[in-house]
């Protein structure tokens, strides 16, 4: 059903330079694609949240289940498991390719940092099967350059409510 309460998007401010953020997102995608999961977690702030909703337009991660919703402690656990040789759902390992595009800077939410919106296409190949995921990344990024960190990452999959086989590699 169409959500008629949604506001019409406004034209992004063309004077804002998205390049530092785009560079960061491309770097983040590369760390994930190449399996540098510990380095990926290190991109997050101590009190960061990582969220993959299961419903389109899901209001919060507390009253409804999510494909993934991690605080720092859980994110560390998730990633440590990925490095364990006995993670059978990753035997053989997935190979992934992420393309990040359409990067825009969104109006501030009042929270610290800059909200950056982007589109992604993720191809996952594992054991003679290729899966295609696509959707929107919303990052809230804090700091600049090498000190830039993720305070929040939300992944809106277009097929978030589809019946899916296990999701093991983070989006």
């Amino acid at each position: 059903m169409l959500d008629k309460t949604k506001k019409t998007p406004v034209l992004p401010d063309a004077t804002l330079d998205v390049r530092p953020y785009e560079t960061f997102l491309i770097h983040e995608a590369r760390l994930l694609d190449e399996g540098f999961f510990d380095d990926w977690v290190a991109l997050f702030t101590e009190d960061a949240r990582y969220w993959v909703p299961i419903e389109a337009g899901q209001a919060d991660p507390f009253e409804t289940v999510s494909l993934m919703y991690d605080d720092r402690r859980l994110l560390e656990t998730r990633v440590r498991r990925l490095s364990d040789p006995r993670i059978y759902s990753q035997e053989p390992r997935s190979r992934t390719s992420r393309t990040v595009t359409n990067v825009t800077i969104e109006p501030s939410t009042g929270e610290p940092g800059v909200v950056v919106r982007s589109k992604f296409v993720l191809v996952e190949y594992r054991r003679e099967d290729q899966r295609l995921f696509a959707g929107t990344y919303i990052h809230r990024l804090i700091g600049e350059g090498n000190a830039m960190r993720i305070a929040m990452k939300k992944v809106e999959l277009v097929n978030c409510d589809a019946p899916l086989d296990g999701l093991v590699v983070p989006f």
Partner: protein
Amino acid sequence: MSITAKINPEELARMVEPARVHRRIYTDPEIFELEMSRIFGTAWVYVGHESQIKKPGEYFTARVARKPLVIVRAADGSIRALHNQCAHRGAMVVANDAGCTDEFQCCYHGWTYHLDGRLKAVPLNNGYPEDFDTKNPKTAMVQVPRVESYRGFIFLSLASEGQSFEDFLGYMKTSLDDMVDRAPDGELEVAGGVFKHTYDGNWKLYLENLCDAAHPWYTHRSSIAAAQQQKDDVFSDGTGEIAIRQMRQNGAPYSFWENQVGIWTYANGHSYLGDYHDDSKLVAALNDTTFREYHSAMEAKKGKAETQRIMEVRRWNSNFYPNMSMMSQFQQLRVIHPISVNKTVVHTYCFKLKGAPEQMFRNTISFANVVNGTGSLVLTDDLEIYNRVTLGLSSQGAEWLEIGRGFTTDEPDPHGGRKGKNSTSEVYIRNMFKAWRGYMLGDSDTGAKKQVA
């Protein structure tokens, strides 16, 4: 493989022995089709909960034996299950997952139906032959013959005759009681969305894993190690707390499983794993503020003695053969949807305990995300197992699969069932196959009363 050739009953009977089953049970499309008609087409199967249809006109769609259904609260307050097909040209009438309506109208030529499925109006109702009768119950959204509800849990049978609902549940209704009793206000509500996951494997594998106390140590090794090594002094908003405890507990040694956990089985293929968690160990740990608040709410509503009785029911997964598994301690319920012989979809629901502290439902959500969810750290390894069994069975390896662990040591249970001497007995799988034989061959006193024509 041809599915037109009819498998003969003797051949089918030979495939299930007391302590082993033939691999074809999991791989033969012809057997799968027979299961759809003889098991899913006759057994009582769970379809949903009354909290999903509180008022007349509220409905949700469901699927049983791959057939699309609409479950609706009719104008008189009764629950009806309708085959989701227009009597005119066969289009599926209801397309949304859930909603509220005064009537059902087909999008093709506008035939409309009352909430109980009777035909209400036919546009251009002229020139039909004399025997066209809008009052004919077959010219309708045809009703499923048997629908029953026990304490809010709705089950139906696609067959007009067969075992009674009461006989089907038997002693296992105490597991449904346990979930409802745990609500301080005595009521449950389905809430928090639905996980839908799928795997390339037979539907039976799923139920056969849910009371398997011998697999966590191997299958879930990666999440056990990751949780055990996790530092607790990093930032947490409480998310994952209970799930991390669960993953650590999955690493308990065999002696724990053998001595402190039990497996109980009852007629019709049902079973539960019990005494796994007592509240001081895991569920909420007695020094947990949310649990203390919950405990007080329970005592205020039900009194000390009844609260004590309820808390001492310590069941983990309760399996209702053939399509449902629920767990009262974290208020989760899974419905198994067979799609084909090697394709299954499972829907996982959460329940809110009315009158319990809000944080308790957040724990339910968090437990679901990390343990039972599609992107969880635990279930993903189970899905891999189901996929691997399918791959393994595509080989030409061992013809017979073993289900004999604990066979010589199982014991009778005072409620008419059979329990394992300890939790790692495969008694619950043997029990499922006893019911399977009942439905498929009519040669067992459990599962069905001779369903085979």
